[in-house]
């Protein structure tokens, strides 16, 4: 076998030792030993070289998990720390929280295997009735997170996940099963400053008339990748994935999504918008796969990005793969600079160049937040985006 020839880097060898003796840990160790870490020779990771970023093994963690914002004071907070997980706040009836030792689902990608491998146990949230309080998944620096959410038919849940480590390796796997006519709304925030490596994967299945809505705000890190895989398994299942990324310095952020339409009458709305400056790098890989059975699919994917400096880089790979013949699918992808004419117009009215740029970028990027129903979260995300814009060098 070719894998037998694989020579692991010292970083990979060091990681092998780090997995706990769980079933998922064993699986991760076996996978890593055979295939190594994903690197630029692997198509799906060609712009995000995990092996290179972890060449020295598991880096030292630093930073804080961040404060819970005022708008989420009523939330149930699940804290994921390097040494375990804790719970804070009240929970509604109809939410059962358990832990288990299990393998991730078949066919989960390398990031899912790694995250499941590092996590001591999986935290399982069973939603048997709609939840009025949001659930926050707060990832601490260097912590592994593994969560499975199982939603009964007709239930609703707001999920917020944050990863704000400034250094270290943070991993996350969220598996979500959305029942018939159930709805999960997810808000994600990631900010890794310059040294953090942040690797997360969400694996979502949506049953008949179910809805998965996810809106994220990403500032990147030394290497950050948020991968999302959604299968619209039931008739009329609905998926909305919006993401904004704002990258500066040497930050790297990779947003990779795959939506599979497996049943008829499904709908997907995907919109990513980003602004990248200095030597930062943004990666968008978005695939929508419409299977033969998924007639009357309505899917739209858009990615639009602004390059604010010469040294910045944006890599985009939008893909539509369609096997059904009666569908509406469209995608758009643009990468450009700020409009010089608009900038001059604003300056002629007296708005200084830096402020004019910030206003234009804010207007461009925050369209992504229009899909946020939770007013507090929308204000929170908009405020974070504005702080980034005001802090960036003119």
């Amino acid at each position: 076998m070719a894998f037998a020839e694989l020579k692991l880097s010292s970083g990979e060898t060091a990681l092998l030792e780090a997995f706990p003796p769980t079933e998922a840990g064993q699986a991760a160790r076996a996978y890593l030993g055979a295939a190594g870490l994903p690197n630029r020779r692997v198509e799906a990771f060609k712009w995000t070289d995990v092996r290179a970023a972890l060449s020295e093994g598991k880096p030292e963690a630093d930073g804080s998990a961040g404060l819970i914002p005022d708008c989420l004071q009523d939330a149930l907070v699940l804290d994921f720390a390097p040494d375990g997980f804790g719970l804070e706040g009240e929970k509604d009836q109809g939410l059962i929280i358990e832990t288990e030792d299990s393998l991730p689902i078949e066919g989960a990608g390398p990031l899912a295997l790694l995250a499941a491998g590092f996590a001591p146990r999986a935290v399982v949230l069973r939603v048997t009735a709609s939840q009025s309080r949001p659930v926050v998944l707060r990832r601490h620096p260097g912590a592994p997170m593994r969560v499975r959410v199982e939603m009964d038919a007709g239930t609703r849940l707001n999920l917020v996940d944050t990863g704000l480590a400034t250094a270290g390796l943070s991993t996350g796997l969220i598996e979500i099963e959305i029942g018939q006519n159930a709805e999960l709304v997810r808000y994600s925030l990631q900010d890794g400053k310059l040294s953090a490596i942040d690797l997360t994967q969400a694996i979502v299945t949506v049953a008949e008339e179910g809805r998965y809505h996810a809106i994220s705000l990403v500032f990147g890190g030394k290497l950050a990748r948020a991968e999302t895989q959604v299968v619209l398994a039931g008739v009329g299942a609905n998926c909305l994935i919006h993401g904004a990324y704002l990258l500066s310095g040497q930050a790297h952020a990779d947003m990779t999504t795959k939506v599979v339409h497996a049943s008829p009458h499904g709908q997907t709305r995907e919109l990513f918008k980003g602004a990248v400056q200095d030597k930062a790098r943004g990666v968008f890989q978005g695939k929508i796969l419409v299977e033969r059975a998924a007639q009357q699919t309505d899917a739209r994917q858009n990615h639009h990005a602004l390059m604010l400096s010469e040294g910045a880089e944006i890599d985009a790979k939008p893909e539509l793969e369609i096997y059904a013949d009666d569908v509406q699918c469209a995608h758009g992808n643009t990468i450009g600079a700020l409009d010089d004419q608009a900038l001059f117009y604003m300056r002629q009215r007296g708005i200084p160049a830096a402020q004019a740029k910030a206003l234009l970028v804010e207007a461009f990027v925050t369209e992504v937040f229009d899909a946020i129903d939770h007013e507090g979260v929308r204000t929170w995300f908009s405020g974070l985006a504005r702080t980034w814009l005001e802090g960036r060098a003119p």
């Binding site: 117009y345 300056r347 009215r349 007296g350 461009f364």
Partner: protein, 248 residues
């Protein structure tokens, strides 16, 4: 007020303005007329500091202060306003947000305090009413989806709100029907004053029926080739620009 002396402007190594001298005293409205390609818009961009319009010689001062070394926003704060021939659409930025940001940025640059939101709203409503700017227009992103006439009205509305000392109107009449032209002209005339100056750039005389100039200058081949009273505009309307073909 505005003094331009022997101004020379290049756009991408091509000389467009070739030694232009012009003085507009406070309280006066001057018109600049000229054929297409004479350098009318280049003059307005060079005065307001747009990138790519390189001043290679001469001077331009407003109330004795040099304009040419200042950034566009600094010139604006000194009271220089350009009403664009083609106003830009700024998607995602609500008109009122844009205007309040502009007004407060100018006030800050001049060392004045910010205008509060209620005061600004009151001011903006008063001005809007006069110019037929609807509340709906003020809520929409700036100029997005506006007709040509609405965009021009919005330019004058901005001008009235920002209350500049010197105004350059670049082809403000283009794209306006006769009714819109009246509304816009009335708006402009209301901003005339003994301490203010105006430069009205136009290809056609008809705007000058509504905004009566004190002086009319003919710009051709990058220079002022003729100057006179309002009667000069009427003569141009009758005879065209042909007689200036060789003057440049």
């Amino acid at each position: 007020m505005l003094n331009i002396n022997n101004l020379q402007v290049e756009v991408g190594d091509t000389s467009i303005i070739k030694g232009l001298t012009l003085a507009v005293p406070a309280g006066e409205v001057h018109a600049i007329m000229g054929p297409n390609g004479a350098g009318k818009s280049t003059l307005s961009y060079a005065l307001t500091g747009r990138d790519g319009y390189e001043v290679v010689g001469g001077s331009a001062t407003l109330n004795g202060e040099d304009l040419l070394d200042l950034a566009p926003e600094e010139r604006a704060a000194k009271g220089l306003f350009l009403s664009f021939q083609y106003p830009l659409e700024i998607p995602g930025v609500p008109t009122l947000t844009f205007l309040r940001t502009a007004l407060n940025a100018q006030r800050k640059a001049r060392g004045e305090g910010e205008v509060s939101v209620p005061d600004f709203m009151k001011l903006s409503r008063q001005v809007a009413k006069k110019l037929g700017v609807t509340p709906d227009m003020m809520k929409r992103p700036l100029n997005v989806g506006f007709s040509g006439g609405e965009k021009k009205r919005m330019e004058i509305y901005q001008m009235a709100l920002l209350d500049p000392r010197f105004m350059i109107l670049d082809e403000t009449d283009s794209g306006l029907d006769i009714d819109a032209l009246k509304v816009v002209s009335e708006g402009v005339n209301a901003l005339r004053g003994s301490d203010k100056g105006m430069l009205v750039i136009t290809h056609y005389q008809r705007l000058l029926d509504h905004i009566k100039p004190d002086r009319v200058h003919v710009l051709a081949g990058g220079r002022i080739v003729d100057s006179g009273g309002p009667e000069l505009a009427l003569a141009l309307e009758a005879d065209g620009y042909d007689r200036y073909k060789d003057a440049a």
